[in-house]
């Protein structure tokens, strides 16, 4: 097994053009080894191509560490608004998350519910397809409908359609202040109702999560200090009917914990990530027979820690999808990491993979 770290897009393209066996596509490798095969890493494709704070745009090579990107943005009081999760704690992995890895997996955090996912902040990509051809799609401007949107398609494709070499991102101002309204001692039913009420309020909520262990629902608002103070008070008053409310300005570690599912760190079992309609979470949660649960996105994102080797998808009886985020290699290959699609969609996806990766060498078997 080889580890290949090309230094340029051209070198990467050459490797892919000459490859015949399976390639495990990696950025920083913080989500572990996805498939057997030679590792093709983008970690040496680094550097900022362009950053214009006044235009909210950043163009960066795929292997650039997320930490480097975030530091650069922080210096201008900006940020990646989609709040990408750091998988290292949950998966017990090491390495340095890269921006390309974040985009390839469409990794988003609690703010996804308000500002959108990684895919909603991605303006353009460069990638190399399975024949070794470099391709550009999208660009560096915020509105662009010129041709088909391969940008979205590549985001979340987990390397199956191409290896990302460069991404353009929309960045946003960092909020001056934040506050968290906690609703204490509520069951899931009440928590989802409370989160729904806050997300349906005019107060621009940027996070709505529920921790069943402490039976507390958390609602976040961000922005200018006076505005945050005003909106958090309004929310606390409106949510008082659901349970005792309190307002805290010390929210950073809390939301980082929600983002990274820190409640599951170091605990045994498989970890599943389930996306459903928020109100469906209430009926679904007990059916999952999980050892522990965490809820984000107003209830629409369920993190479940279950005993090893169980097919949790068989227990999900509502529309949505369940991804196996952490499990042994055996369980992963038996159950599949991604939710199988209905026949027609599976055929379309398979057709797309074959078009972009005719040799079938990009993370084979990971999807579809």
């Amino acid at each position: 097994m080889k580890m290949m770290t090309p230094q340029s897009e051209a070198e990467l393209a050459e490797i892919i053009a000459g490859a015949s066996g399976p390639l495990c596509i990696q950025g920083g490798g913080t989500r572990g080894r996805t498939v057997e095969g030679d590792v093709l890493s983008t970690c040496s494709l680094t550097g900022v191509e362009l950053y214009e704070p006044g235009a909210l745009t950043l163009v960066v090579k795929a292997g650039t560490p997320v930490a480097e990107v975030e530091a650069l943005l922080a210096a201008e009081n900006q940020r990646l608004a989609f709040e990408p999760m750091d998988h290292r704690g949950l998966l017990g992995t090491e390495g340095e998350p890269t921006i390309g890895g974040v985009i390839a997996a469409n990794v988003s955090g609690p703010r996804r519910i308000q500002t959108g996912a990684a895919r909603d902040h991605l303006l353009g990509v460069r990638f190399v397809d399975g024949s070794g051809q470099a391709v550009k799609n999208g660009g560096r401007v915020m509105k662009n409908v010129t041709g088909y949107d391969l940008v979205k398609l590549l985001c979340g494709a987990h390397g199956a359609l191409g290896v990302l070499t460069e991404v353009s991102l929309k960045v946003l101002p960092r909020a001056e202040a934040m506050a968290t309204v906690a609703v204490a001692d509520v069951g899931l039913n009440q928590a989802v109702a409370a989160m729904s009420a806050s997300l349906g309020s005019p107060y621009d909520v940027t996070g709505a999560a529920y921790d069943p262990d402490s039976k507390t629902a958390f609602v976040r608002v961000e922005g200018f200090a006076d505005s945050v103070s005003y909106r958090s008070k309004k929310l606390a008053a409106e949510l008082a009917g659901f349970g005792e409310t309190s307002i805290s300005a010390e929210g950073e570690p809390l939301w980082q914990g929600i983002r990274d599912v820190s409640a599951f760190h170091g605990r045994e079992g498989d970890v599943w990530r389930i996306s459903v309609k928020p109100s469906d979470a209430v009926e679904l949660a007990p059916r999952l027979e999980a050892e522990a649960l965490q809820f984000d996105w107003g209830g629409g994102l369920i993190w479940a820690r279950v005993a090893e080797g169980n097919d949790l998808r068989a227990r999900v009886n509502v529309p949505g999808h369940a991804t196996l985020v952490r499990a042994s290699a055996g369980t992963r290959s038996r159950l599949g990491v991604f939710q199988p699609q209905p026949g027609l969609l599976a055929a379309i996806s398979e057709g797309l993979r074959r078009q972009f990766d005719p040799k079938g060498i990009f993370n084979p078997g990971l999807m579809g």
Partner: protein, 482 residues
Amino acid sequence: MQMPSPNPAILARKQALAARLLKALPPDAVIQDEMETRAYECDALTAYKCPPLLAVLPRTTQEVSDILRICHEEGVPVVPRGAGTSLAGGALPTADCVILGVARMNEVLETDYENRIIRVQTGRTNLSVSGAVEEEEFFYAPDPSSQLACAIAGNIAMNSGGAHCLKYGVTTNNLMGVTMVMMDGTVVEIGGAHLDAGELDLLGVICGSEGQLGVVTEATLRILRKPEGARPVLIGYDSNEVAGACVSDIIKAGVLPVAIEFMDRPCIEACEAFAKAGYPMCEALLIVEVEGSEEEILHQLGLIIDIARSHNPVELREAGDAEEAGRIWLGRKSAFGAMGQINDYMCLDGTIPVSSLPFVLRRIGEMSQEFGLDVANVFHAGDGNMHPLILFDANKPGDLETCEAFGAEILKLCVEAGGCLTGEHGVGIEKRDLMLHQYTAEDLEAQLKIKDVFDPKWLLNPAKVFPLSVTEGRRSMALAAE
């Protein structure tokens, strides 16, 4: 504009095809009379016209499926049509095509405030989606200027934007699921009330594919609670450069207005003559709108006004009440109508990096001299989406051609400045032949591969998006296979 020559074999089968469609559809759903099909000969890009072979107006997904299955079996091209408001010729027929209009499919299927979604048939107009949830103080965010008339189907096809997308995003950021009929008549469900795709993001590539991958009949859309209030401020400058610097400083300061609109002098003059909104006569006008509670609005406006003052505005006008706010928006909202009053015009929508705004405006001014046609600029400054309006006289021989040549040069300039050919209108036929200025043949090839998977016979919305030379091999192979 070059279009593929119609297939004589299809033209000869018109009666048989109509009869087959009539067996599957109610009698009033098939339009074959040449006087009546003429109503579908063009969209809002009226310079190009071609009556279709037939037009069909289904009411259900099942009827759409029947139509597409029949056309697929017969090898007949299909041009999907929403409300026909495309400025890019996205719904321009070919003589041998069936126009599939979804205008009769305008039902609201489900509203769910708890989960903040609405599910509609896609013939419903954009504004009436917001109308359906207005009572509960919700709205659908993307707001193209044509929102009174344009259909969700077309919004999805073109990934439409609007004035408020700096904060709320464009169609693709607000679309959660679709029911789509494939060219062979099969029906697929993608996405829904849950977030994100588990596998490949097919929804992401369908949105903005200009009706070439399938016909979307139903859509699940994200709805949002209305903000407590909104208010604009009007700022005038004596140069485009300074106005551009002001926009950049506002964004850098961490304020995210819901809209930043920019008008140049020719546009201000035309609007003033038409709407008499009382705009100051200056080189550049900005309308900046913020949202929130009264206190929040005042705070944000305070920050914006401080920044604006630091650039020495020639005019700074706050709206004291709703009536004054209305007056500030009046001129901008009537800009297109004002232009229509004085002249025929062509509206472009290239996008540029905000930082290259002064350079691009200066170049457009110089080119206006070279081509001998006036141009007025109105655009969404926060996101760099320009709308140059080139004025011409359709009755003057050669004027349209000069205008098109001028337009093409402006769009190339947008690409050279680091931007793109179209920010929210779509490529259609209008910008089709410029695609190789933005993308290499290899970049386009990657896009064609998508089409091969969804529509292997290349029957859906022919001759749009890609230069004909680029698609010729595929089209003739598909034809030979028939």
